[in-house]
Homo-oligomer: 433 residues x 2
């Protein structure tokens, strides 16, 4: 049973805080193992990657077979049904269209002193994409990571995907192909992250690594951060649904379950203005759990972390939402736009009852890599900007330096940074000669 | 003596790689000490902060005196000379004008299926700014961190600054006042970072922490990352100057020294097309070091990490620049704009001989918090975006769901995520009723 809370009850605040602070992730401490793996890859390069892949994925590789060839990709892709291919291409086109709008503008202007200022954006030269193997190997995640990189202008996009027992995933390879991935290597784990960050004889190093992974991959990303850029370290998935009584309980139940089925640590919360509706949703969840394929995952998630909160009005729903700062937020109310305007902290908002969160996972267009564990308070989902960086520009004229140089001299002196000041003074002296 | 390299010599590649990979930072391992301090602050709150401040800063505080009052700030600010105040206000106005242009646009559009998509930006609600005490307590850094936060719309900006032996820095407090900092606490070290991240009875927690600090502060920021957002962990400062022979060697020498004087681990590199000019710059550096106040810092930096590289042409200079990916880049050549266009990786570019890097540290307008240690390959200087986050928006109509829902159903099935698919199926069924 999920927890039922009444936001007007005296004990609510304590119970809500317990919900907010529930530690859902039990990450094993793999850091020392990962440190050894990274050191091994840095020392022995390809051979370390090959040895570790033999050990973990039970396949024997050589430097020549680390990379999945174009022919292998073509053969795997040919197995995909036309319907699946069409679905993936529709998703890719919509994701590309959305992310293309994120491309930032350069700027340059001349101010009143005659100084020209501005900035320009450029793409990361080479990026690496980690794709998990086995059950969590999602073609949609390939699209969501690779397309923003390519839209940003990343010239070399190298993907790593473990192939336990040598089995290739045709849809994952098709997604890579559609997205424009340049190189695919059949390796995974911390060794793949190390190879991307430091390079080997066969795999050139990249500048940025993104993509989800298990505890070993997350620990490896943390360790190589600084040497390369990384994306966020994602926690278990979450959904918050704010719904009035005018919804089909079964639809809302399915939306809650679509997060719960990801992971036993996932969290699904319903906030509703209608207590009877909340109970109907709880019943609908139980009914669906009787037959759901992944009930063994969704059931424990809903039982341990699910919650149904009743509120007297939507203003309070908005306030609670900001405290939760959910990864995914569905607003199934009569006027979702007004409610959306009252909410500040959420990774992605799905407006209205015709926008199930699953649309956003695949074909909506926005990215499905989103901030978890309340980090929507300070961070954003993956975007084109994650594969770009900004260089600031400044160009002084003699007149501009005369106008603002003396202030720089004075501040440098106040900070006891003499050479800073002198570098301005020497130039001003020339101007005053 | 700095290293002299000729980019056309056969041994250049090896020497250049040595230069690129020089480990300049010798960070002490303070992680376990910092972990204990954070645990103490989480457990004992204000009292832990007070005890640690007594130990490290030799001042006795109470919960009531943790915060520097408005009266204390006013009294300190009154000690600042009008000239220093004017300089700081000029700097603040120019930084504010530059960063205001960084405010990003929201977007919303309706696509061909009738789906409305978009995103909106919002500010982080509360941010914390770390300001070092003692010698490295720079008022300019307060402006560079606080103004972007306030331009972004951060409602609550809390600053921490240690005051060893109780001594307040009037210019730092004036910079905080001018920037609109809301709260100032006289605490520092890992305990201040922990207080900002987790909160105490007196200090409310923030969502994001920025600002420079020593090894303890850096380790604490790494540890609280995830609970809150942090900015980059900056390494020692760097400058790369590309200059032709048509420059005053003394100006270039001073620009090199203005990085070297920051830190014995700072790095200053000159790339020039004119070998004789390179030698003249080296002589000018030596001459300036005879009298520079901070020669005891700048001298070792220049000796251990300085370099002068001669190149046959500016195209090669651009290529080497991208490999260095410098934090600060000065282009002192006849046509700096053409050269700038050939370069991709740099934190900030200063164009032409009238733009010494020190202008950018204080009054240019762009931020002086910039990516070090080659991280300009994948990251940017501090900006308004560091204090904002983006929420994606999606609103399907029944027609839009009919158009793209089936592709989502199919992809969900291919990923064995049944509830995802069913959440779409249930709605499509209703539409087809």
């Amino acid at each position: 049973m999920p927890v039922f809370l009444d936001a007007t009850a005296p004990e609510f605040e304590a119970a809500f805080n317990t919900l907010l602070n529930a530690k859902r992730e039990d990450s094993p401490d793999v850091d020392s193992v990962v440190a050894d793996i990274i050191a091994d890859v840095r020392a022995r390069g390809d051979q370390a990657v090959i040895d570790l892949t033999a050990k973990f994925d039970r396949i024997t590789l050589t430097p020549q077979t680390l990379r999945i060839t174009a022919d292998e990709i073509a053969a795997a892709v040919a197995q995909v049904s036309p319907e699946d291919r069409d679905a993936l291409e529709l998703a890719a086109a919509r994701i590309r269209a959305y992310h293309t709008r994120q491309l930032p503008d350069d700027a340059e202007w001349t101010d009143e002193t005659g100084a020209t200022l501005g900035w320009r954006w450029s793409a990361v030269s080479a990026a690496g994409l980690y794709v998990p193997g086995g059950l969590a190997s999602y073609p949609s995640s390939v699209l969501m990571n690779a397309i923003p990189a390519k839209v940003a202008g990343v010239q070399r996009l190298a993907m790593v995907v473990p192939t336990p027992d040598g089995i290739l995933n045709p849809l994952v390879l098709l997604a890579a192909h559609i997205s424009g991935v340049d190189e695919v290597y059949r390796i995974g784990g911390a060794q793949a992250v190390a190879a991307l960050a430091y390079g080997t004889d066969t795999i050139a190093p990249v500048d940025k690594i993104t993509g989800p992974g298990n505890a070993f991959v997350a620990a490896a990303k943390r360790r190589v951060f600084g040497k390369v850029g990384i994306d966020m370290i994602a926690g278990p998935s979450e959904i918050l649904i704010v719904a009035d009584g005018d919804n089909d309980p079964d639809w809302i139940a399915l939306d809650l379950l679509s997060q719960a089925e990801h992971d036993e640590s996932a969290q699904s919360i319903l906030i509703t203005t209608d207590e009877a509706f909340g109970k109907a949703v709880a019943d609908a969840v139980d009914k669906r759990l009787e037959s759901l394929q992944r009930a063994h995952i969704a059931g424990p998630s809903w039982r341990d972390y699910g919650a149904i909160i009743t509120v007297p009005d939507l203003d309070l729903a908005a306030k609670l939402t900001d405290r939760i700062a959910p990864e995914h937020l569905e607003l199934c109310v009569a006027d979702p736009h007004s409610l959306s305007a009252k909410i500040t902290h959420a990774g992605a908002i799905f407006l209205g009852q015709w926008t199930p969160e699953a649309i956003g996972d695949y074909v909506g267009g926005p990215n499905h890599v989103l901030p978890t564990a309340r980090s929507a308070r300070f961070s954003s989902g993956l975007s084109v900007l994650d594969f770009m960086k900004r260089t600031t520009l400044a160009h002084m004229t003699p007149a501009a330096l005369r106008a603002i140089g003396p202030a720089a001299e004075r501040l440098a002196r106040s900070e006891s940074l003499e050479a800073h000041g002198l570098s301005v003074t020497a130039r001003l002296r020339k101007l005053n000669d």
